[in-house]
Amino acid sequence: MKSLQELRDMRKRLEKDMTARDDKEMARVIIGMGTCGIAAGARDILKAVTDEINKRDLDVKIVQTGCIGMCEEEPIFDIAKPGEDRITYGNLTPDTARQIIVEHLINNRIDKEHVIARHNN
């Protein structure tokens, strides 16, 4: 990085890329993979989500994130559909995770039992 300007140009480009990704291209499943999440079974959730997405041949990106603070609710994942708010689900099992993927990603329905909140800022 040769100058602050270079960083800022890069930031603009990245912001644009990511907005483009969020708005048009791809839904994302963001899995909480902090120590608390992993201890609560996040790796099994990751496996189930990956499997479900492959099985249904969906165009979805799976990413990880750290601890959002609600360790009690782990395992947690967020689902972000293009152009929509990120929605957080918690207290997942591999089975409920699969179910939520189908309901939310494909059929656009909220799983009321496991939903926690919407990222609104």
Binding site: Q64, E72, I106, N108, A117
Partner: protein, 600 residues
């Protein structure tokens, strides 16, 4: 293509009675016609299925492999599904069944857990991918470092941190800007910055979560610190029990180096910075800064007397500045948003926010960040959701083994460095262990003293011998062997250890004992004089169990559960416990459906 071929899609049309009556058979026929017309009838198979239980929205069709659920279909919709979905792979959103629940999902800022939080240090945690430097940059990451390096001189950076009023988040609360100015003023051609991530308090995991969730923020905070004090090399001292934090930090350092955000001549400013990781072996005392530096140098992790302070003679004898993880996580915000934005949060003496790890008998175990000045009640009851099983609150322990227990009377205390000290506890690094009425306070103080006793490095006598003697007394009391005079002796020992130990570990080790003595002396007295443990925790002090005759329904569950056959009686009659045989395990009381077994 033969019929045995694998179809790429299946269309399941519900032909249960409900859907048939709303026209499902016609829908199925139109599907077959349309598929034929588009010449994909060999790729997509139409199947009839039974009822899905969603009859009011019929006719229904589900398209696999995706599992798309189309409802309230009309014949004219089918062509669109075939054309758009089955031919072009685009889901027909208009035909999905959507209830209006999405709008009803509460936002993060509306739910109790987040309503009163203000996230600066934890802003990115749980939001960005910690292993993707691009996400950090897209969110404004490294901009503060760029501003500091290219637009501000060193004195200005220190002044901004001073003006923000930021105090060390590791627990001591020393003003960060002042600490930096000492290291900046120290003459020397080589200086170091260290991030203290040797988080050791039982129940504390603030630093781990920040390193795991937002490692670049720590790199950025450290680089700004290094620039301000004139250092060109840094160490993150992180315990080896945090493998995930180390792994993510390592990747973050590598990525930052690749982007030229670490290394030589960063942003063309002439500033060089190299960052190393030192994995600690997990000794609690290595959180003490002189012991921490000894450990980095490869020596035994033992503290040495100060002065000289690290700012004058630190790592390898060079001027060194040590800050805690959370302290460093606040630095980019202060540079980017300005000191006033920071000092406008919190209280006058303790500006900003503080991260707490909520654990113990609390409903919402987790990590919270609140403005200083928030009350304990707000953190424990509004954010933390209160106690598990709605039990009664007894005390909250803050500051880990160096801190104290705060009773119910002080729940409305606004949290800051000074207020907590006044009530005999301390801020500490942010562990908050909530205790209910089933907790024995003597046992709690024994637990913490046992911890500091095992972690005492043994260098100075008061800590090595004193904590041992205190622990012996506490063990005696909890075993029912307490003597009159024990409380006085505990207080006396505590004062000596506090006043004469070499480092913070020893000086603060008696705090849990002193604070429980201050607020719960009656429990100590009950143990020693009445030979009773009011909370029913200390096994040797359990009274005999007996049946409350008025409440017993004669179900016999207690007799079945008793491991030593101490309970006798016949079904539908009142049972009795033989106190000679009873071992006070309490299983009968747990099993009793009517709470008809008492102890005492």
């Amino acid at each position: 293509m033969s019929k045995e071929n694998i179809y790429r899609s299946h269309v399941l049309v519900c032909t249960g009675t409900g859907c048939v009556s709303s026209g499902a058979r016609a829908i199925k026929d139109v599907f077959i016609d349309e598929l034929h017309e588009k010449k994909i009838e060999d790729e997509v198979r139409v199947v009839e299925t039974g009822c899905h239980g969603f009859c009011e929205r019929g006719p229904i069709a589900i398209v696999y492999p995706e599992g798309v659920f189309y409802s309230e279909l009309k014949e004219k919709d089918v062509a669109e599904i075939v054309e758009e979905h089955l031919l072009k792979g685009r889901i027909v959103e208009r035909l999905l069944y959507v209830d209006d629940d999405k709008e009803k999902v509460p936002g993060y800022s509306d739910i109790d857990f987040y309503k009163k939080q203000k996230r600066i240090a934890l802003k990115n945690c749980g939001r960005i991918d910690p292993e993707n430097i691009d996400e950090y940059i897209a969110g404004g990451g490294y901009d503060a470092m760029g501003i500091a390096l290219t637009e501000l001189d060193q004195a200005k950076v220190i002044e901004m941190v001073k003006d923000s009023g930021l105090r060390g988040r590791g627990g001591g609360g020393f003003p960060t800007g002042l600490k930096w100015s000492f290291a900046a003023k120290s003459p020397g051609d080589k200086k170091y910055v260290i991030c203290n991530a040797d988080e050791g308090d039982p129940g504390a995991f603030m630093d781990r979560s920040i390193l795991e969730g937002d490692p670049h923020k720590i790199i950025e905070g450290m680089a700004i610190t290094a620039y301000a004090i004139g250092a060109d090399e840094g160490y993150v001292y992180v315990r080896a029990e945090y493998p995930l934090a180390i792994q993510r930090l390592r990747k973050a350092i590598k990525d930052a180096e690749e982007y030229g955000l670490l290394g030589n001549d960063i942003f063309g400013s002439g500033f060089n910075f190299k960052l190393n990781i030192k994995e600690g072996a997990g000794a609690f005392v290595c959180g003490e800064e002189t012991a921490l530096m000894a450990s980095i140098e490869g020596k035994r992790g033992m503290p040495s007397p100060r002065p000289p302070y690290p700012a004058v003679k630190g790592l390898w004898g060079k001027p060194t500045n040590i800050n805690n993880v959370e302290t460093l996580a606040n630095i980019p915000f202060i540079i980017q948003e300005g000191p006033a934005a920071f000092s406008s949060l919190g209280t006058e003496g303790s500006p900003g926010t503080k991260v707490f790890a909520l654990t113990g008998k609390i409903k919402n175990t987790g990590l919270v960040e609140v403005p200083m000045g928030t009350t304990l009640r707000e953190v424990i009851f509004d954010i933390g959701g209160g106690l598990q099983e709605n039990r009664k609150f007894k005390a909250v322990q803050t500051g880990g083994p160096s801190g104290g227990c705060i009773p119910e009377d002080y729940l409305d205390l606004p949290i800051d460095y000074d207020s907590l000290l006044e009530v005999g506890a301390m801020m500490g690094s942010g562990g908050m262990v909530v205790m209910d009425d089933n907790t024995c306070m003597v046992d709690v103080s024994r637990f913490f003293l046992n911890f500091t006793q095992s972690e005492s490095c043994g260098k100075c006598t008061p800590c090595r011998e004193g904590t041992k003697r205190m622990l012996e007394i506490l063990n005696r009391i909890t075993e029912g062997e307490g003597k009159s005079g024990d409380i006085k002796l505990l207080r006396e020992l505590a004062e000596h250890i506090r006043d004469t130990s070499l480092c913070g570990l020893g000086q603060s080790a008696p705090n849990p004992v002193l604070s429980t003595l201050q607020y719960f002396e009656n429990e100590y007295i009950a143990h020693i004089e009445d030979e009773k443990c009011p909370a029913g925790v200390c096994e040797n002090l359990q009274g005999a169990y007996y049946v409350l005759e008025d409440d017993c329904i004669g179900c016999g569950l207690c007799r079945k559960a008793c491991p030593v056959d101490a309970i006798s009686g016949k079904p539908k009659e009142i049972y009795t416990i033989d106190s000679e045989i009873c071992i006070s395990c309490g299983v009968c009381a747990d099993k009793c459906p009517k709470d008809a077994i008492a102890v005492g």
